[in-house]
Subunit: 336 residues, 2 copies
């Protein structure tokens, strides 16, 4: 901490009680304007800074919300975080950030820590391991401590909390319909094995569309790195003319791979991905993408949480579903 001035010291110097100092600093109507001014001036002069930790201890809330994210190194999560941060501070809350690195144990440890250091609420997008294991005890336990939680984007089993999701399943379906109308009928779903574990609804949307179009669904998984021999063979035998990539990263990777192998986009194959960051926008050809509205998810998450904290929401959980949006760019053929 520091050698900071306290109310006690102010009170001594000014020959006033600590109570009076406190009230004056907090603009209590009990205190005369004269002393309010006197106290404030003197406090400012002496660089007095209130100790909010002490205040919080007394008052019983901390104006702090915990944010635990699987990672921060994707444009998606960093945008969400920006959305959370801006609204949080403008409402007087501060953010304490924890990264789970997609690990269940680190997520648990983070939450334990947050509990100890006091939070008014929690925003979380569960880790891959959490989602897979469906081990959510550490999350549901927050209920017992009366700490509201809201999840966003990823959704896990049975935790009793407010949730933010998108209609990505629907939009995945729609994206396939669009590709088909533009003349594609050999459309694959491409995913890093790890992503596949999380984004099942994107896959479901794809499969539904393919089935209802009478087309044959085909999932291609890869582990970490391109090049992928299987994919290369498919390209060379012209067995692919469209790709729905599970993430923006994999979309960019597959586009690079296609170009590197001498095929053209979208002439030979159309590509569309998820997450509409500047990454795909500046790629050449620019990437068509399903915009998951990260900033909006962040904003909505923090708004919901604050409303919940302030008792402004009805009992029972709210499940917001945001509309994602298909952004048409150069990587997909167009139809008329």
């Amino acid at each position: 901490m520091s050698g900071k001035v306290t109310m006690k010291e102010l009170s001594k110097s000014l020959n006033l009680s600590v109570s009076t100092i406190s009230k004056a600093l907090n603009n209590s109507p009990e205190i005369s304007e004269a002393t309010v001014n006197k106290v404030k001036e003197f406090a400012a002069l002496n660089n007095y800074i209130p100790n909010m930790a002490a205040r919080n201890l007394k008052v019983g809330q901390c104006k702090t919300i915990g944010v635990v994210l699987p990672t921060i190194s994707t444009p998606f999560f960093s945008s969400v975080l920006e959305g959370i941060e801006s609204l949080a501070v403008s409402n007087g809350y501060r953010i304490i950030l924890c990264l789970s690195n997609e690990l269940l144990e680190k997520e648990k440890a983070s939450i334990q820590k947050l509990l100890e250091t006091q939070i008014d609420g929690l925003i979380i997008s569960p880790s891959r391991e959490t989602k897979k294991s469906n081990d959510v005890g550490h999350l549901s336990k927050l209920k017992a401590f009366k700490i509201p939680v809201v999840t966003f984007d990823r959704r896990v089993g049975d935790i009793d909390c407010d949730t933010i999701t998108t209609d990505e399943e629907l939009k995945a379906e729609l994206a396939i319909f669009n590709l088909e109308r533009a003349g594609c009928n050999k459309i694959i779903f491409l995913a890093d094995t790890l992503d596949l574990a999380i984004y099942d609804s994107r896959k479901i949307g794809y499969e539904n569309a393919m089935l209802s179009l009478g087309l044959h669904p085909m999932i291609i998984e890869y582990q970490n790195r391109f090049p992928n021999k299987h994919l290369k063979r498919l390209l060379e035998s012209k067995s692919i003319d469209g790709i729905l990539a599970c993430t923006e990263q994999s979309a960019i990777e597959v586009m690079s791979f296609i170009l590197k192998n001498g095929f053209s986009i979208p002439h030979d194959v159309s590509v569309i991905g998820f997450n509409n960051s500047s990454l795909g926008k500046t790629f050449w050809p620019s990437l068509s993408s399903i915009d998951l509205k990260p900033k909006e998810q962040g904003n909505l998450a923090i708004e919901t949480l604050m409303d919940r904290i302030n008792g402004l929401l009805p009992v029972g959980n709210i499940n917001y579903q945001l509309h994602s949006e298909i952004i048409q760019r150069q990587s997909t053929r167009t139809f008329f």
Copy 2:
């Protein structure tokens, strides 16, 4: 906060004093093993969670460090943050995150807030406005409160603190030498006007190299968006064969622009940028880049800060300079 169990309640239930409870929970050797175990078991059974805020108030440190960043939506800053976060939590510190959005006022407000809510130290990369205005009063004032600060990457005038920087100037120079050896001699320095305001050392490195090679330095600035007519004219008249782009973003943008206009990379023009994220790696052709070691910067920043907090560092400021690294990829011609 919550309906949490406190030591007082434990003490009542167990018929022990609060002091004993506290000592038992903290493994004090004063207390018999028997009661230590009894207390711990009972605490666990009742989901006791220590209130660290209260503890901190008493003990006078808060194990909290403030991190204020201009933005989080570039791979550079998100990597730094990951570097900070991981080491912080493994050392028992938590991170409270503030974004300045490159604005002086928001930076000032963040620091004021951090001061109020108590921090043991601060890591900051100053905003563009801070750097331009050189208004650093809000930063130097922390010294008076005995709160150590460390800056990274960007460096501003005269604040009395530890700093982390890289040898980017040197590596910019070296990059130009490499381009020249590979046969380029019409090399421009490309920057978004806003970036130019911050990254002067990159420009200086460029200019030094050009001058010492007897080449004509040429800075091209643009505002926010491509396409840039000036640049197009230069391309078409073959007056450019190399580009050092001030950031990764501008490197990617200019590469897209070049490709879009039918020129080839690196055959017609070589491009090299700063910040070596996966963005440039997956672009096709992949981007040669100067790796600014963001994770290392983050690690070093937090390590330095913790050492400073713990009084492990000598008086006087430390200025670490990390070695950045030129990564050769497909966007630059090679030499033998």
